[in-house]
C-alpha cells in the first residue's frame, strides 16, 4: 500500500534443506530448497550429459515477509541464503563494499539466489532491501545497520570462501568434519571424482 511505513514480519515459514548438487561431468553446481524430512546425501542421477550428485544438505528455512500494518506480502522463495564475507579476496567488489560499509558503521551480508546449472539466479534488489529492512527493524537502534548486497558483485564465485548462515552436518551421527566452502569445487582425487561431505557423512570415501 502506497504511503505505508511497512513493519515487516516473517510469514509462511517452512523449514527444510538447501540441497547442493554437483555434476562430476561438467563440474556444475546447482541448489534448490527441499522440504524433505530426511534428505539422502550422495544420491546420484543422470540428466542428459550431466551426472548429478547430492553433495550437501544444509538445514535452512524459507519464508515470506508480510507488512503487519497493510498486509503487503513478498515471497522470498528465490533466496537460497545469506553469506558472511570472509574477506578472502581483496580484489573482490564485495570485500571493497564491506570495508566501505564497516567504515560507515554498517555491516554487510550477501544475499544468494538458488543456482541452476548456469549459476546463481539474482534476487531483485528491491527484495534485498525489504529483507534488510526486516532485520534492521528488529535490531536495537544502537547496533550497526545491516546492508544486504547481491552475490553478483562477488568477483570469482568459484573462489569465494564466505560462510553461509546455514546448518551443515547436523544430520550426521558422527561429529561433522570441518566445514568447507560450498562454492569452491573440491579438488578431484587421483583416478576419481572429488570427495564430498556426502562421502564422509555416509561413511565411505569416493567409490
Amino acid at each position: 500500500m502506497a504511503g505505508c511505513q511497512h513493519r515487516w514480519e516473517m510469514a509462511d515459514v517452512e523449514f527444510g534443506f538447501v540441497a547442493f548438487e554437483r555434476c562430476f561431468h561438467c563440474d556444475g553446481l546447482r541448489t534448490f530448497f527441499s522440504p524433505e524430512q530426511a534428505p539422502f546425501l550422495g544420491e546420484e542421477y543422470r540428466e542428459g550429459r550431466c551426472f548429478w550428485r547430492r553433495v550437501e544438505n544444509a538445514q535452512s528455512l524459507r519464508f515470506s515477509l508480510r507488512c503487519a500494518r497493510c498486509g503487503e506480502r513478498h515471497t522470498l522463495e528465490e533466496l537460497m541464503g545469506l553469506l558472511h564475507c570472509s574477506g578472502c579476496d581483496p580484489a573482490c567488489e564485495i570485500d571493497r563494499l564491506r570495508l566501505q560499509a564497516e567504515a560507515a558503521g554498517e555491516w554487510v551480508l550477501v544475499g544468494f539466489g538458488f543456482a541452476d546449472k548456469n549459476g546463481a539466479i539474482p534476487i531483485p534488489q528491491a527484495k534485498l532491501e525489504i529483507l534488510a529492512d526486516y532485520f534492521n527493524q528488529r535490531r536495537a537502534a544502537s547496533r550497526p545497520r545491516l546492508r544486504l548486497l547481491s552475490f553478483e558483485q562477488i568477483g570469482e564465485l568459484s573462489r569465494c570462501h564466505g560462510d553461509f548462515l546455514h546448518d551443515v552436518g547436523m544430520l550426521s551421527l558422527e561429529p561433522p568434519p570441518p566445514r568447507k566452502s560450498l562454492l569452491v569445487a573440491p579438488a578431484p582425487e587421483p583416478g576419481g571424482r572429488a570427495a564430498s561431505n556426502a562421502d564422509r557423512e555416509n561413511g565411505h570415501d569416493t567409490p
Binding site: M10, V13, F15, Q59, S60, L61, F63, L82, H84, W107, L109, F135, R138, R139, A140, S142, R143, P144, L146, D163, F164, L165, H166, D167, M170, R179
Partner: protein, 111 residues
C-alpha cells in the same frame, strides 16, 4: 537485567569484547535457521555450536549474547570475529539444561 549482571551471577566467562546491554529473554537452539526464525533482539542464545557462523547469525537477529554451554571450547577465529562486530560470546561450564534452570530462576523467560 544486563549482561554484566548475568555474568556475575552465573559466573559466565566473557570471551569476546562487547558493550553491555539489557537481556530480554532466552532462546535455546543449536540451529542457525531456528535462531533466524525465532530469536528476538536482546535475547540470550544458548547453544553448543562454536563455528564462526554463529557470529553473523547472532548479529543478524541482534541477540544480546551467545552463551556456549557445557564448557565447549570456542575456536579463536570465532572469538576474534565476535570481537570485531562486538557480539558477546560467553561460556559456561553448565549444561544447557542447568543453565536454563538458573536463568529461569532469575526471572528470564522465553523469547
Amino acid at each position: 537485567m544486563t549482561l554484566r549482571d548475568l555474568i556475575d551471577r552465573l559466573k559466565l566467562k566473557s570471551l569476546s569484547t562487547f558493550d553491555d546491554r539489557d537481556v530480554s529473554g532466552v532462546v535455546v537452539s543449536d540451529m542457525v535457521s531456528d535462531v533466524m526464525a525465532g530469536a528476538k533482539s536482546g535475547n540470550l542464545w544458548l547453544t553448543v555450536q562454536t563455528h564462526k557462523s554463529i557470529v553473523p547469525a547472532a548479529n543478524l537477529v541482534d541477540v544480546a549474547a551467545v552463551v556456549v554451554t557445557s564448557g565447549k571450547t570456542v575456536p579463536q577465529e570465532t572469538v576474534d570475529l565476535a570481537s570485531k562486530y562486538k557480539v558477546a560470546i560467553l561460556s559456561s561450564e553448565l549444561s544447557t539444561f542447568e543453565l536454563v534452570g538458573k536463568l529461569y530462576s532469575l526471572g528470564l523467560g522465553g523469547t
